[in-house]
Amino acid sequence: MAEAENIVVATAERIFADLADPQTINHDKDGRWSAPLWQALSDAGLPLAWVSDALGGAGADVADGFAIINAAGRFALPVPLAETLLAGWLLQQAGIAAPEGPMTIAPASPRDRIALNADGTLSGRARGVPFATGAGHIAVLAQDDDGLSIALVDAARLRIDKGLSLANDPSDTVTFEKVTPHAISRAPAGFDKDSLMLMGGVVRSLQIAGALDQLLEISVRYAGERVAFEKPIGKFQAVQHNLARLAGECAAAGAAATSAADAIARGGAFDDAIFLEAASAKIRSAEAAEKGAAIAHQVHGAIGFTTEHILHRFSLRALAWRDDFGSESHWAVALGQRVAARGADELWPLVASR
């Protein structure tokens, strides 16, 4: 992904470097880093980058938002920046003004469904909602017989059962019990229930790709420093080849994720081509997370298995992010069904169209 090629992304990277140093966060048991970080991000307009000026946001390009998210992955950022960006994007689709403060999205899994009742209230349960704990508002995609609606809900009106992701970030169960939304509007034409999941999946793919880049960098550095059998372990061919494989996984995840982000940023409907790009990004980056995290841990040995070391901040998040907005298994089945329905002779034209 483009590094610091424009002011928005450069600003994000500077804030991450100054206020979200993984080493500092890892050692600060009281979470003192959190409030200044969010404040700086908010002051720079980053959480609402995908919301237009008219609706209370910064009105940045879609591509810039994706670049911010990729950079956030490189820092394993443990605040809901990606979630707030995505919530703002969803609200923007329906022309709903975005509030200040952290937000998240429900549902966060293609297996959950929030119903819009005839009286205008919302009912249902969403599992694995990232950072519902701590969110002021939740952007909701709701369904009724007439189609999809997008709503903004005050988080205080919801039952939130706390849970934790693989990486110990909030991953909560959110229950809507005839909740009246703060604002609601019909989803625009062409916006279907896959659209949010695909967009969320691309966001997670970019974060995974960013985390993998970091896993490669710290593993290469460690292999150059750690001496065993009288030489740096990076001089052993077995270790070199494992790191070369990790580079391959980084490359595949990065290429798939940035390609999907680019496809969405160029606009257009969520058609078969965007489906191929976004689903492939989630599938391939999730597969890369599994292989890449295993290699990074293998290179680090026991020290990488400690809470003291920062490795887990990247490895566990890369693995945890696989679960949100549809796992690789979910998207593989959906993509496979689509490919089969198009027919054998339409597979290559689809792949070649990208």
Partner: protein, 385 residues
Amino acid sequence: MTALRFDPIRLPPECEELRKQVRAFLAEEIAAGTFNPFQPLREDADAREFSRRVGERGWIGMTWPKQYGGHERSFLERYVVTEEMRVANAPVRRFFVADRQSGPILLRYAPEHIKMDILPRICRGELCFAIGMSEPNSGSDLFAAKTRATKTEGGWLINGSKIWTTSAHMADYMIAIFRTSPSTKENRRHGLTQFLVNMKSPGIKVNPIGQITGQKEFNEVVFTDAFVPDDHQLGEIDGAWKQATSELAYERSGPERFLETYYVLTELVRAVGPDPDTRSAEGIGRLVAQLHAMRRMSVSVAGMLQAGKEPVVEASIVKDVGTVWEQQLPHRVRDLAAFVEQDAGNRETLENQLTFAIRTAPKLTIQGGTTEVLRGIIARGLGLR
């Protein structure tokens, strides 16, 4: 360590127009019976005329200067032609090596009169090239080559042998490295020189070698006082090692590095039908996602080549990931085909293809730079060597 970057390069609109032309051309060739796209194992006997017709279309030497018969088109346009030919299983072997590797080497290192003589004939699809690298006792260890070029009046005398030389039996020329000096203590890569060899000259004997696929694509080539004139020397005496690296990016990152067994995926999709069970759907979905990611990496490298860069590490990554993928593909397809209906219409086609693809698979991570060599190059790029 510098970060790896695979920018999302998109093929420009002229590529899509070209793609339509290539597909229409291939459909005509298939209809005329030139080749069977479902049958990857075949003889090359008919490919001589096919090569000329591809040349007539302007699809060989596409990126080369017009003065040498080239067409000054982009690497991305060449990419489209290569991938469409590969996916259709077109018989490209006769011209592909010259198009990909030999031509670019000649462009860079051959004297003008040789370029004017040979390059236009490559572009017309008239010439077949082989690459003389491996020897009986030097494969991946390229710089251990022993076959000698000894100075004589007006040229060089070649003695020794090359092995695993694809297409040598039908090649008009070979570009080979021969030993002109011993290696030195300071530089074990020193002492090899690159030459253009006319395969029709006396003193060259080509012995076919049978492969486990049933094909006889590769050969042993024995040189006995074979004469190579002075003007066939390519580049610096004793300095072939300096010339080897830049061509690797061309050779390693193309669509042929992950599409060699692609046909089994198409047939699997046909065999499972429009409404597959969950297991088949998931398996196909993963393979398609992996294929798409591979292709996006590969197109990205083509974009870097077009921009005049030498993405040696990125190209090595594409070949490493791509060849491992195309090697595993027939085995994954076999897994997924295990429960396909016994009376699926294309069952026999798929089974025949799997037999050939599974026999082909072992070579994919060996030819043109083994996985081990590639990972060494990647590790060097990461700063580990």
